[in-house]
Each structure stands twice: as C-alpha cells, then as structure tokens.
Symmetry: C2
Subunit: 565 residues, 2 copies
C-alpha cells in the first residue's frame, strides 16, 4: 500500500465553496466574514443566533502517552470528523491553529495527514487569518506599555525585579529566550533582564482560547498580572492602562476560522495555546458555534489524556459550562510497544526494526498506560472509546491485543484506517463514539473551584498521574501563598509537566506508581484563568535544528509553495 | 465652520460593496480576494490581465518641507483622488499602509482626515490584511536562521561583530532598541549585541514596496545582506538558506489591498516603508494595477519633496520603469509662515497665536522653501501643481500670496478645501493637475545607475538639497568602498536625513544654502535595492510618550472600537 505525500493529496483535493460548508452546519452565510476563497471567519453573533438549535454530541479526542513522534491525534480528529458522514450523521471538527515557529523547524505538518487533512494546508500552516499575529501584537503592546510605565515614573509601583510579563514572537529562536533590554542610554528605556516565548505560549493566546465572548475577553485581558509591587500586590494590564488597546487588537481574532477537510467536513480552527504551560485546547467560542452545527462536534486536546483531556475537562469545560459526551483515546501498536519498556524511539531517526515485528505480547506488556488513560476518562464520568490508529507496519494480532485491553476495561474499541482511507476508515470508530455518546452523561469536574491550590495540585497528581504525593520547592510554596493572598486561589490548575510520561519524569513509561511529583515553581495566568505549577524543564521558546525546514521551503513565481511538508 | 471628528465622519460613511469599487476600476471581480466586507486583496494576475488597458495619468503628491504637525499630504491625496469624479474623470488613490506602532503612540490617524478619509479606518489602522505581520514574520525568521547559523557552526563564515541584520516588531518600544540576545547558557544561542527596529523600517518592507512581481520579490529577499565575513565579503539571506521561507511568508502580502474613500473612490493600500531610511512610498505592484484602473492614479510620497518625491522618482520609478505625469506640491499658510523663521511649532502644544494672524507678507517671507521644492520637481522634468491646503484659520490674502509665489515660478496653483468639503473642495486642484499632466512628459532620473555612489550622493545633496558639497566620516568612506567592492555600486541612493529641513540640519528653515552635508555612516539595503547614507540622528524604533494613545483605546462588548482617534 502506497499513499501519496500529504502535499500531493492536499493539492489534489476538491474544495467546496465556504457557503456550502456553512450550509452543512446550518450556519447562515450572513455570519461568514470571507478571507480569500477557502477560509472564512464566523461572526460571533452566530452564537446567539444558533443557541436554540439542537445540541451536537461533544467528543474530545485524546490519546495514550505518546512517543516523541506523536500517535496521530490530529489525523484521528480529522478522520473521525469525516467518518460521521459515512454513518449518516453530520460531523464538525474543532482544532487548534498551529504555531508557525515549528513549521519552519522540524519538517512536519499540523493539518493532519494522509486522507485526513485540513485544507488548504498552506493557509492552515502560514498566517491563516492573522489571529496569532494579533496575539503577538497585543502581547508585545502590553510589554511596551509596561516598559514605558517603568520609564515614565512607575506610577503603579512595580518592583522591576518582579516583572513577570515577557515578550513573544511566533518563531523558533533560541537566541531570544534570555535577553537584556533597555540598553543604549538614558533615552532608551530601563535596562533589565527579559526574554521572549513563542506566541503559542502567550497568556493572551490562552485568553483567546478561554473567553466565552468579547466582553469576557476584554475583562480577562485586564486581569493579566504583569508583575508585583515590593509588597507582593499584583499589578495588572488594567492597572497600567493597556487592556483596552489589547482588546482592540484582539477583536477580530476572537472570530473562529472556518475551513474544511479533504472530504469537505467543516473545521473550526481557532487559537493554539501551548500544551504544557497552558491548556493545549482550541477555543471555547469555536465550540460554542460547533456545538449547534451538526450531530457530533469533535475536538482535539493536546498531548496524552493525562494532559490535554484533563485540562479540557477541568479548565476548558469548567470555563465554558459545556459538558462532553464521549472521549476518544487514540492508541497505537507502536506506543504500547514502547510503553512495554523494550524500545526507544528518537525523533528524526529510523524506528528500531524490532519494534516492527509482530509481537502482540509486547502490546499487552505496555497496556498499563492505556488502562490508566481510560481510567482518567472514567474519573471525569466520560465514556471512553479506544481508537486503534492503524499503521501499515501493524499486524492484526496487535490490533486485537489493543482491543482486548480496552474491552477488559469495559471500553469500546475500534480500528481506524483514516490516514489511508479517510473518513471511511474511521467509520467503525464513529459508530462506537455514537454509542458511547448516547449513554447518559456523568460528567464531573475533578475538584471544586474553592479547593485550596495545593489540594487541586495534589488531586490531579494522585488521581490522574498516579503519584503518591507532591513535594513543593520553597519558591513554589512562596508563590502559592502569594497567589492565594492576591485572591487567585479559586482558579483551576494547569500542571506543566512532560507529555512523554503520565508522571513528571519523561523516562518513566507505562503507568508509573510509587513516585512523588516535585513542583519546582508555580506561575499564574490570572487573565486566562489558571495557575500552573512547573514540574520539570518547560521550554517556552523552541530553537531551530541543524537542518530546519526553513532551509527548504520556497515559493515559485506562480505562487506555489514547495517544501512545506 | 465646525467639522465633526474624523471618527464620527468615518462611522457615518456609506461604503459601497467591493465589487462596485472594482467595477469602477474596470477590475474584473474574479481578481478580488475578499477579506471581510470592506477590504479585498487583488490577485497579481490582474497586472497581466489589465496591461493593455489605457494608461492613467500618474500623479505624485508631495509637499513643502513640513512643520512637525504635517501639512495634510494624505488628506490631499485622498481628497484629490475623490475630486476627479467632480470634474468627470475617474481617480484612483494609492497610499501606504500605516504602522500600528504609532497608532498606539501619539494620537492621530493615518487614514486622512475630515471629509477626505479612507474607510473603514479601524481596519486601515489595525492589522488590515496582515501584510505588516508577514513582514515581521519574514524578517524575524531570517534573524532566527541567522542566529541559528552562528549557533550551528557558522558555515558561511560570518564575522559575529559584522552582523548587520536586526529584528523588528510593529510596536513603539524603546526598550528594544538595544538588547543583548543569546544569554542563558550553552543551549541558548550565541550572546551578542542586537536590537529591534519598527516593522516599517524592515528591509523586507522595502522589498515588498519595490518588487515588480513575486519572482522578483523572491530574488530580492535572497539578495538581502545580513552581514560580512572577516574579509568583507557580503553574506546574504540566500547564503544562509532563509530566502525561500521568507518568500513563502510574503507571498500573499504582495497582493495589494483595495479599500475606498468616504466618497467611494478606490484606494490601493500597500506597504509602508520608512520615510527616512527607506523610500517612504507605497508599492510598485499597487501602482502597476492602479495605472490601468482609471484616468488618474494619485499616489503619495512621504515627507517633503526633497525626500519622498526624490525617492519616488529616483528609486521607485527607476525600479518600476513607470513615468510620472505631474507632481502636486502641498503648501500651507502655516508652513510657509514657519519657514519665514518667525515662529516655532511644537507637536502637542497649541499653535502660537501670532501664527494665526493675517500676514501675507510673512507667507512671502517663507517662500524660498516652496520655490526650491517646485524646482526639485522641475529638475526631474515633472510639472508641479501647488495645492494650497486651506485651514479654517487661513486668510484669503495668504492663499493669494502662495498662489503668487507658485505663479512666479510658472507653476499652476489652486486652493483646496478637501478636509472640510471632500472631493468637491479639491476640484480646482484636479483641474490644474489634469492640465499639467497633459503636457508632454519630460521625466528624467537625476543620475545614471552606473555613477559612483559618492557622485550619486553629491548629486542629490547639491541639486536637490542645495548643499555646497558632502563631507564623509571615515566610517562612511569605508562602507562606500566595501559596497562598491561587493558590487552594490550600481544601486540608487536613499539619503536618510531630517524631514524638517531641505538641508540635513532640522533647524535650518526655508531653502538653506552655504552648507555642506555630513555623512556619518552609510548602510545598504541590497535586497530592496538602495544604499542609504545616514546624515543625522535616525530613530528606527519609536517610544511611547507619558500618555500614549494605548492608554485610551478600547473596545466595547459589541465590537465598537473607541479612542482610536
């Protein structure tokens, strides 16, 4: 079986006019704001206009703890969205917009792959309608107003050594991680240590993803904490008079982007917050539209089920008030074999040949991870469906092994060949999802708003990650006390840890037990609405490799982009 | 006479559908790429499709040496564009996209004013279709690839102390002028002194403005010089394999943006290169479309006639091969009175009362500047028309004084009330322009491509600025020799000097003589295609003031932006 390249498949696609895509969603075309032929923004008035329509089943796609290669969560999300039309239902997909930085770094697309892609992929991967640029602009305007505030007399009384707000750019640039700004002389600002993160790590991005409407976006931007006074009182974007301008820059970015899959399934592409220090989920406003646009709204949550799905439940759904009906846990033969502890995968290198040999016992040996992630759905009261994402190198006995693991947990399971076959290949998964979503919803949040921050952290660590407990570094304790004293104790918690293990140690495979989670420091995204403990080395500005994609991408005089994938 | 605020006028405007605007230009609507209701990009295929259509008269709008408040060049450009419909002709306007940085700095719009504005002004001033963001992205991708090149072994042999490429952001942020990057440790890049300019100062912006088509844009990006080897050999964006990716990021930005004036005159808004270190003119591709879209294409050149218009002729027209038919020199009573030397205007403060008293003699006393700028049009063989931009505080005798000065030079002159009256108020100017443009074209470049760089600089200094000669600092001589040795000697020259005097000394009013121009250093925009000698203190990253517009702009829950003007 030979599948053409993603680019070849994408460029051979027949796209439908956006009006037709909107009609499939029962979305009146008057709400479309066109951005070229194949992309439209949706006016937020659509939310109010559609709110009395029937409600779709709300399905989150998550995964076992992935290998460094990823296990095909985006392709599954796109493929499953396409699959519903093959079982007589209407599916709508909601996914994150990818960051442009990594597009020019490690070769590889974010639009899905094979016959499960979002098109046109050049638009999807480059600029789209400029929402990331709006985030960059709003974020850095706040940075400029902040440094100007220090320069013009510091009326808010900020402690220059306790400024927490950095700058952002949507580029992989390690040289910007740690910088000194304000050099040059008396007219050139106040010298201080500073740094840049990638735009997807901006709190403004998380605000975009977690706002229910424009008024709330405006309020959240105002609540962003930029630093503290010497007495430990938070200073906000509102305090230094930057939030209104930020909101003006973000106004149009809050409108979700409408695209389509290769099979013309509607796709809402909106926001792209980081998956470790932020929620790793697409926007609430997109889901508020998608939930009234079909029979099934399929949305993806970043990284494994302990990460993205947990935040989907306890941060995104808590904030939106929306309740999920089913969770798809993507599992691969490859990942479970790696969780057996017998293999090591390194990104950019060939797979070890032993990994490709038929070995269902090894799949069973790595079952603990899948079991725990299924359980992680159950503790939130959400019905899990295991999607066995088939690779050409898999063997039927290995798929059967995954099916047995799932069924031993009482979970539905189905093999999916959406990469090779498009929506048709995910039809069996779609049937299983439809059944699971029809069970009465038992959805529950893991902890109440008013639990103390340490209790929230410990609840996630013990119940979701399987830790025995949590150890706080002194700096972490100081920060938690500071946040609770400033009134931030009622926020949910987003644990920033590795995505390569359910534990906070990337080397621990399977479902580690008998470990304690070390919290090195704790930071606050007060505007976005969460506190994030740092458990490990979190990189918020990637670098470029020795031979990055940036060296190979080009554009022909006729406008064709080459080398993007 | 009381005129409503710019914002009130703009929000009361009745906009026509973009299809109607295109039809006014005989532009097939199939070439429109829609970006919301009131903005469209124009596909570049339109250039080929329209090239055999009748050619419009090509009119550049320039000005006397302005006061710090500006003399209404943009309002005149917009008003004159509108005026042609009042004399039975079709006008099209081509102007620069404004930078967002100053929008949040000093309060004041860039969309024209009064009844001569481009609408919708919120779109015009914020993001538009993201072209500036594309420039920021492409520029900073090159920066990242460059620092990565140093980090990964420096195969091109760059001298880290001779890196000339900086970074850019579209924000007024003085703290970014001088920074140290690459701090943190072994994994965080190579430490070095660096800095940020505002996006409009990016060479990529100048490339956007000066490319005739996408293939040429790609080539120009490749020719950008990022630094030098220890032996003084230039290292380019092509050498470090970044130019293709930059072109991919810039592909859609090369399509000009179509908007309209309050009177529904078509406006091409495209590119916004700095007026001192770059050309200060809008894009060639926009003009290549506009020149076949009506009877008159009216375009604005930044700053006074010694600056923007000189570059319009000797850089933009040299590069495009297009030939201007008339030049409008905007003059105000206020500016000529200031050139008399009797008054001083400070931005942000009230005008001195004595300036507002009826005093035609004082206008005559400041005539030298207008005479010299008229002469500066003549030495390029272009017919000048003096537009007397009327202010409510002017007196008829003062307008008459300007008319006498113009006519003593054999130039046409007319009073314009476009601010208060829209296009109707500029009808007399439009008639004069139509007459001037009907004279046989005598257009000539000031110097040939193959003149040595020093000769080019001296030609501009003596013939346009009225200097006795040029003095080069040692660093300037070194750079000129370096550029000529690297094969850049055939490029035109863009003298970076103050816009507040025809001389390089901002304090010298009128038409200074008996002075020599000091060239402190010389830089090269090899990709954009010009060499720029620095004659004075050029600031390429503005700062915010004590009470910037950023503190007052806001957005209401219904999406209305307030405080923008």
């Amino acid at each position: 079986m030979s599948i053409p390249s993603d680019l070849d498949i994408a460029q051979a696609a027949t796209l439908k006019p956006m009006d037709d895509i909107a009609r499939q969603m029962d979305l009146p075309t008057e709400f479309l704001e066109r951005h070229g032929t194949d992309v439209a923004k949706i006016e937020l008035e659509a939310i109010e206009a559609m709110k009395d329509r029937p409600r779709a089943k709300y399905v989150v796609v998550t995964a076992v703890t992935p290998t460094p290669l990823g296990e095909g969560k985006t392709t599954t999300t796109v493929g499953l969205g396409q699959a519903f039309s093959h079982i007589g239902k209407r599916g709508v997909v909601a996914i994150r917009q990818p960051s442009m930085g990594p597009t020019f770094g490690i070769k590889g697309g974010a639009a899905g792959g094979g016959y499960s892609q979002v098109v046109p992929m050049e638009k999807f991967n480059l600029h789209l309608t400029g929402d990331f640029h709006a985030v960059t602009s709003a974020h850095n305007l706040l940075s400029a107003v902040l440094d100007n505030h220090l320069y013009q007399g510091n009326a808010a009384g900020l402690d220059p050594y306790r400024v927490t707000w950095r700058r952002v750019l949507d580029v992989n640039d390690r040289a910007l991680r740690n910088v000194v700004t304000g050099l040059g002389g008396r007219m050139d600002g106040v010298p201080r240590e500073a740094g840049f993160d990638i735009t997807s790590a901006s709190e403004v991005m998380a605000v975009l993803a977690l706002s229910n409407d424009l008024g709330e976006l405006r309020q959240r931007l105002g609540r962003i904490v930029v630093g503290y006074t010497p007495d430990g009182d938070a200073v906000t974007a509102e305090d230094i008079h930057a939030a209104g301008s930020m909101a003006a820059l973000m106004r149009d970015a809050l409108k979700p982007n409408l695209m389509q899959t290769l099979e013309n399934t509607p796709v809402l592409v909106h926001a792209g917050p980081f998956g470790n220090i932020a929620t790793g989920n697409s926007s609430i406003v997109a889901d508020r539209i998608g939930i009234h646009s079909g029979d099934f709204l399929v949305t993806e949550a970043g990284f494994g089920a302990d990460m993205g799905a947990e935040r989907f439940f306890n941060i995104k759904c808590r904030t939106s008030g929306m309740s999920p009906d089913a969770a798809v846990v993507v599992a691969t033969v490859r990942a479970l074999k790696v969780h057996s502890g017998n293999h090591k995968i390194v990104a950019g290198k060939d797979l070890p040949p032993a990994l490709l040999e038929e070995n269902p016992e090894e799949v069973h040996a790595g079952a603990a991870n899948l079991r725990k992630q299924i359980e992680n759905m159950r503790i939130h009261g959400v019905s899990p469906v295991v999607c066995i994402n088939a690779f050409p190198t898999d063997h039927p006995s290995e798929h059967q092994a995954i099916r047995e693991i799932a069924e031993s947990m009482g979970a539905r399971a189905a093999v999916s060949t959406h990469f090779a076959d498009g929506g048709r290949g995910a039809a069996e998964v779609a049937e299983a999802v439809a059944e699971a979503a029809n069970e009465p919803s038992q959805f529950q949040l893991l902890y109440p708003d008013d639990a103390p921050l340490r209790e929230k952290i410990e609840t996630i660590a013990t119940k979701v990650y399987g830790a025995d407990g949590v150890d706080y570094a002194p700096a972490a304790n100081t920060s938690i006390d500071l946040y609770e004293r400033n009134g931030f104790g009622n926020l949910p918690v987003c644990v920033a840890k590795t995505h390569l293990s359910i534990s906070s140690d990337p080397k621990l495979l399977g479902a580690p037990t008998g470990w304690r989670m070390p919290v090195r420091e704790v930071r606050a995204s007060v505007g976005a609405g969460f506190i994030y403990p740092i458990c490990g080395d979190m990189r918020t500005m990637p670098g470029l490799g020795k031979n990055p994609a940036a060296h190979h991408i080009d554009v022909k005089p006729d406008g064709t982009i080459v080398g993007l994938f």
